[in-house]
């Protein structure tokens, strides 16, 4: 029982990171209808920025995080601006564009930070909390709280604000939204900026748990992408449930199957998606070629 609970706690800790990654993927998809394949690499850049300001510039961790989030949001704006001429012309080309930006960002990161990677000290040290023999790491508790807050704010923004609802309207019907006077370009830019900021939040928070390197984004990106699909791509609730579920799934797979965690986690993932191709909260809000 203790093993089950301890594994569950570990799974939720990492699952919270996957939630943030999945949220970024889902937000851009929900509002633009675009799978942003540069998301993982934006996350990596965000993680590096946070780590650099935290370690080298010796800033408090939360300040480093805010700088990283703002900087990556700007990167997101730039990517959206460059891809904008393709909007409504060639969606597949836009998709390849995001893959290209991802590769470019990885190259730039290697130029700036080198290839060896960076070990980030845990900003909140101290002994773990002990609850009925279960250890809860202090820092992971913070990660879970931050992820929960970010999810709540994003959900409120999309479903309760005019701007958020307008952004979703753009994705559902581009022409009608334009006719109604919604600025599609600006709406997409905001989506990309928030998505990128979320990536930096995920990457920055994951840094002290993992190890920041130029390929950091690809492994976390795959996990977040799978989590988003598991929950129902484009669905905010789905991203949260999918992220947590994937984290827990992975933790149990690695606990039970002696080193074949990737295989087991992804086989289970594939089975769920075969049974329910649209994910747990399966809804397709976007239907645009």
């Amino acid at each position: 029982m203790q093993f089950v609970l301890q594994t569950l706690v570990g799974g939720i800790g990492l699952g919270a990171i996957y939630v943030l990654v999945a949220l970024g993927f889902s937000l851009v998809y929900r509002t633009m209808g675009l799978v942003n394949f540069a998301h993982g690499d934006i996350l990596m850049v965000g993680a590096y920025l946070a780590a650099t300001f935290f370690i080298s510039a010796k800033m408090p961790f939360w300040v480093a995080m805010i700088i990283a989030i703002v900087a990556t949001a700007v990167i997101g704006l730039v990517i959206e601006r460059i891809l904008r001429p393709l909007e409504n012309k060639d969606f597949d080309l836009m998709l390849i564009g995001t893959i290209g930006f991802g590769i470019m960002l990885e190259g730039i990161a290697i130029l700036i930070w080198g290839t060896t990677g960076e070990a980030v000290p845990t900003p909140i040290g101290g002994a773990p909390f002990e609850l009925f023999g279960i250890f809860i790491k202090r820092y992971e508790l913070v990660v879970v709280v931050v992820a929960a807050l970010a999810s709540l704010v994003l959900w409120l923004f999309l479903d309760r604000t005019k701007q958020g609802i307008a952004m979703q309207a753009v994705a559902i019907n581009h022409e009608e939204a334009t006719a109604l006077g919604i600025n599609v370009g600006r709406s997409n830019a905001i989506a990309f900026a928030i998505g990128s900021g979320l990536a930096a939040l995920a990457g920055g928070l994951a840094g002290p748990i993992l190890y920041v390197s130029p390929t950091f984004g690809s492994s976390l990106g795959i996990m977040g992408f799978s989590a988003a699909i598991l929950g129902g791509f484009g669905n905010i609730k789905g991203a949260i449930v999918g992220g947590l579920l994937f984290g827990i799934l992975y933790a149990f797979a690695s606990g039970l199957s002696q080193g074949y965690a990737d295989l087991v986690a992804f086989v289970v993932f594939a089975l769920i998606v075969i049974v329910r191709p649209t994910g747990i909260f399966g809804e397709s809000t976007v239907n645009r070629a």
Partner: protein, 387 residues
């Protein structure tokens, strides 16, 4: 719609991978350089190491050590008046990329190879290198490399068997520990460590308190560590690369495991200490053939030269590759720049007192058979263990 986009993306990714694969392969008939008996012009040697990816710190050290030896030789006039021209190939720590490179470096006309730092990559490359008759001096240390019985494969350090026999004897016989838990990954290096350490413990009539296996890409070790914590071991043996070893130790301490940490070469590196944090890494027991830069005059000179050239502190991996490159240079000199099987025979014949020990290659290509025991001190440095 989602599926369609994903399918398109997958298609492009597949096409890109195919493109890279084709670029890596040589055209038929292009493989002329390998066995060329051109006795003038530069001597082409390949350095294959990860220059990107999670294992790139290893690759970086190895490549620097090898480059230093070749640059020194060139400064001293080369070999028989011929310069050594080396090319660094980035294997990304990925066996698939490595196999492509094995073909590419042959078609590029290289007559020998230093690398890779990775057992998995070296194992993947070995058959292709033998096919192309190009000797490789690898820094991998998986016992499987020796078991290949491939006459073109040489190890520039002891194999895991030597590392772990020394470590197990120290822990059990000298320190009297019998409650020893193991955690290792199922990659080529980790699996080699697991087998070698387990066999060494068995010889000493000790059975491990726990034997957890993780994957090389795993980041969260809660479940494996929880099971280990349940056994309350005195020692935790880790068979994984630098970064992963650091993450395991960091998380073990966070979960309240206070066992002494023990491991092979990765646990003696600055990357491990930095990843784990000095407080967590202090007291780690390390089995290594290279105890530090101040051991003797040879290591002092190596460290000073390394510092002067790269403005970095020299360490085990650079030293291993430096030794390997020096042995290759000696073999090239002795054989008047032979190629193929003759060069391989010349390498096997070299007896060399290197930075990581005395080299005398056996039929499996393993040159050094002993390691020493070190310890991480309170400043995060590797020092000789005090009994």
């Amino acid at each position: 719609m989602v599926q369609r986009r994903i399918r398109t993306a997958a298609l492009f990714a597949g096409a890109a991978a195919l493109g890279m694969l084709l670029a890596g392969c040589s055209a038929p008939g292009a493989n002329k350089g390998a066995n060329a008996t051109d006795s003038s012009g530069p001597i082409k040697i390949a350095i294959v190491d990860a220059q990107s990816g999670q294992l790139s710190s290893l690759g970086d050290w190895e490549a620097k050590g090898a480059k230093m030896a070749f640059d020194e030789q060139n400064a001293a006039g080369g070999i028989d008046g011929r310069k050594i021209v080396y090319t660094v190939y980035d294997d990304q720590g990925d066996p698939t990329t490595s196999t492509n490179l094995a073909n590419k470096l042959a078609s590029d006309g290289n007559i020998a190879m230093i690398g890779t730092a990775e057992s998995a990559d070296s194992l993947a490359m070995a058959p292709i290198m033998a096919q192309n008759k190009i000797p490789m001096i690898t820094s991998g240390q998986s016992p499987k490399l020796g078991e290949l019985h491939n006459s073109f494969v040489f190890l520039n350090s002891p194999s895991s068997t030597a590392y772990d026999e020394t470590l197990a004897k120290y822990l059990v016989n000298d320190k009297g520990y019998t409650s020893i838990a193991m955690i290792s990954n199922n990659g080529a290096y980790g699996a080699g460590e697991r087998d070698a350490f387990k066999a060494s413990l068995k010889d000493l009539s000790v059975s491990p308190a726990a034997d957890q296996v993780v994957t090389p890409d795993q980041k969260d070790f809660s479940s494996a560590l929880t099971q280990i914590r349940g056994k309350n071991p005195k020692v935790l043996f880790i068979g994984a690369e630098e970064v992963e070893t650091g993450l395991i130790v960091k998380q073990a301490r966070q979960l309240g495991i206070d066992a002494v940490i023990a491991g092979g070469a990765p646990a003696g590196t600055p990357v491990y200490v930095k990843t784990a944090g000095i407080d967590n890494a202090e007291g780690t027991i390390v089995s290594t053939p290279y105890l530090g830069n101040d051991t003797n005059d040879q290591t002092k000179k190596f460290a000073a030269d390394y510092k002067a050239k790269y403005n970095e502190t020299g360490e085990l991996h650079g030293a291993k590759a430096y030794d390997g490159a020096k042995i290759l240079i000696q073999a090239l000199q002795n054989s008047k720049v032979a190629t193929g099987q003759a060069l391989s025979d010349a390498i096997r014949a070299v007896k060399y007192d290197g930075l990581v020990g005395h080299f005398d290659f056996d039929e499996n290509g393993i040159g050094v058979h002993e390691t020493q025991i070190g310890e991480i001190d309170q400043d995060g440095n590797l020092v000789a263990a005090n009994g």
